[in-house]
């Protein structure tokens, strides 16, 4: 354990710590973030009303739309002079969701990731290959600083360039691989081709996340790469990766409860549900300075359990994400909303675009095909112009989503409509 004092803190003591931190956070957002002050007024509450942890439920929810409405820095609780890092994820309608960190926030995040790497048995003797994307996406830099904090040797290779990934993995003696599970499977497949023996190599653990996966994929990964495969969870709004992480028992992800308070709610009514119930996961950050969020609705469906884990950690555990309460898709680790495609088509002058996202997995890699009905407005009787249209659509969609998509122009009224409303997504992937 990287930090046994915190990670195995008796629950009573943990709850006391959570309450103190929550009260402080509530006071800070009330004082510093006009959005929250207004929300408190609407609900008729004041920071002083939070007297016990149970009073958490008095607090207002925060949703993604609130982040959009306050783009870019409206929800920051610190002046920009205190913000040392900004990350962003692609938004649903063109504008990204922006998050900020103070130096303390970055330090916290590093501590969390250091715990995560230690959970898979990582020490300062390990070589950690970070194949998550570096940049605005939180995956790369998040893992990077945490693995460094632990004292491991970090290879900041970022995503892609499979051949080089495998070469460095072998030459540098990588012991822990961090990437999306589908990319790890792909690396496993390609290894044979490049003559790299992963199973008998030094690689022994993988920290996989940023997209949904399954126990079946875990079995495959562990067999094909000769490793133990661990699930990591996070979202940039709350921190990035490291909000929860599997320990050596591989029986659910421990939520870093000294920094985040998790809840499960009924997504329809917003009512809190007891441990063991399946529902939408909600997080409240209780130490974050630059970008604190109260009761942030993740839209991820999962289950929390309080049962004590054999590893000795006292933090509650969260199951694999079982689904979403909205239509968000995760393709190659990138969050995609069908409405993003719509916004591109609207920019092309379409008033009522009809389109369909077809997501599939070829081998181990996700593919995205976007079917677009050719309206009279788009139609030209010159092939050259139609091909140009395809190219431009592909380019616009790729630059908004951050992943490439194959555009297929189809005839009008060929995309199935159900009850007058077009079906937007066909996901053929089997995880």
């Amino acid at each position: 354990m990287y930090n046994p004092e915190s990670e195995s803190m008796p629950r009573e003591q943990l709850r006391q710590l959570q309450l103190e931190r929550l009260q402080k956070t509530v006071r800070r957002v009330y004082d510093n973030v006009p959005f929250y002050k207004e929300k408190f007024r609407d609900k008729g509450i004041e920071p002083g009303d939070i007297k016990t942890l149970e009073d958490l439920t008095l607090l207002p929810f925060t949703v993604k739309q609130d982040l959009r409405d306050n783009y870019p820095f409206g929800l920051f609780a610190e002046p920009m002079s205190e913000v040392v890092r900004i990350h962003a994820s692609s938004g649903t309608t063109g504008k990204p969701t922006v998050v900020g960190y103070t130096q303390n926030d970055i330090d916290t995040w590093s501590e969390l990731i250091a715990r995560c790497v230690a959970m898979v048995g990582g020490t300062k003797g390990d070589v950690v290959q970070v194949a998550y994307g570096y940049g605005l996406f939180t995956g790369g830099l998040g893992l990077h600083y945490g693995a460094e904090r632990l004292g491991a040797s970090v290879i900041p290779i970022s995503g892609g360039n499979t051949k080089r990934q495998l070469m460095l993995m072998e030459d540098f003696g990588t012991t822990i691989l961090c990437c999306t599970p589908s990319y790890a499977l792909f690396l496993g497949e390609e290894a044979g081709e490049f003559g790299v023996d992963l199973v008998n190599g030094k690689l022994r653990a993988g920290i996989f996340g940023a997209e949904p996966w399954s126990e079946k994929m875990r079995d495959e990964l562990e067999k094909n790469l000769g490793i133990k495969a661990y699930n990591i969870y996070g979202l940039s709004e709350i921190m990035g990766p490291g909000v929860s992480m599997e320990c050596e028992c591989q029986c659910g992800m421990h939520v870093m409860e000294d920094y985040f308070i998790p809840e499960v709610i009924d997504p329809q009514t917003g009512e809190p549900l007891p441990y063991g119930s399946k529902g939408e996961i909600v997080f409240t950050t209780i130490t974050k300075e630059a970008f604190p969020l109260l009761r942030y609705r993740t839209r991820d469906i999962s289950v929390l359990t309080e049962e004590k884990c054999e590893c000795g950690r006292t933090f509650v555990r969260m199951d694999r994400v079982m689904g979403r309460t909205d239509d968000m898709l995760i393709i190659r680790g990138v969050n995609v909303f069908p409405s993003q495609i719509e916004s591109v088509l609207l920019n092309f002058g379409e008033t009522e675009p009809h389109y369909l996202l077809v997501v599939d997995r070829q081998g181990t890699l996700d593919t995205l095909e976007v079917l677009v009905e050719v309206s009279e407005k788009m139609f030209s009787d010159e092939v050259r112009k139609m091909e140009e249209l395809e190219r431009r659509l592909g380019h616009e969609i790729a630059s908004l989503l951050g992943i490439s998509a194959k555009i297929k122009l189809v005839e009008p009224k060929t995309i199935p409509r159900s009850e007058g409303k077009a079906k937007r997504v066909i996901d053929k992937r089997e995880l």
Binding site: M378, F379, L409, P412
Partner: protein, 143 residues
């Protein structure tokens, strides 16, 4: 001197052309000339028919992406070098041809070729001046 051409977007999947021609056949619309330009995913069918406006409406009502484009129908002498002569006239005037295709039927004296150019009026005027026979739309639909 312009001819109205019907253009239709077609996906490359079996039966689509049959369906489309069936729709036109039922409405007693006769096809005078046609061409298909295709890519690996889709094709663009171009038609000269006896009743272009009616065909446009019928296909549109049937859910096809369809448009009307002005083209010119030129009589080309049915002998070696016949087409080359017409092309040379257009080329020397800097008129670009987007595409062209031949008619199914012949006029009395020569072969008929459909041209799609950007500067339709200019091309018509130029060809007429050089004594090339450009057919009227109404004559073409009647053929």
């Amino acid at each position: 001197m312009k001819v109205q051409q019907i253009s239709v977007f077609l996906e490359n999947k079996s039966g689509r052309l049959a369906e489309l021609t069936n729709v036109l056949g039922k409405a007693a619309i006769n096809i005078r000339a046609l061409s298909i330009a295709d890519t690996s995913d889709f094709g663009i069918l171009r038609l000269i028919v006896n009743k272009p406006e009616e065909a446009f409406r019928i296909l549109k009502d049937d859910g096809f992406s369809v448009s009307i484009t002005d083209v010119i129908a030129v009589e080309v002498q049915d002998e070696p070098g016949g087409l080359a002569k017409v092309l040379e006239i257009l080329h020397s005037a800097g008129i670009n041809i987007e595409y062209l295709y031949a008619f199914l039927e012949k006029s009395s004296n020569g072969a008929l070729v459909v041209f799609r150019v950007e500067q339709v009026d200019e091309a018509v005027e130029l060809l007429a001046k050089r004594s090339v026979n450009v057919l009227k739309g109404s004559d073409v639909y009647k053929l």
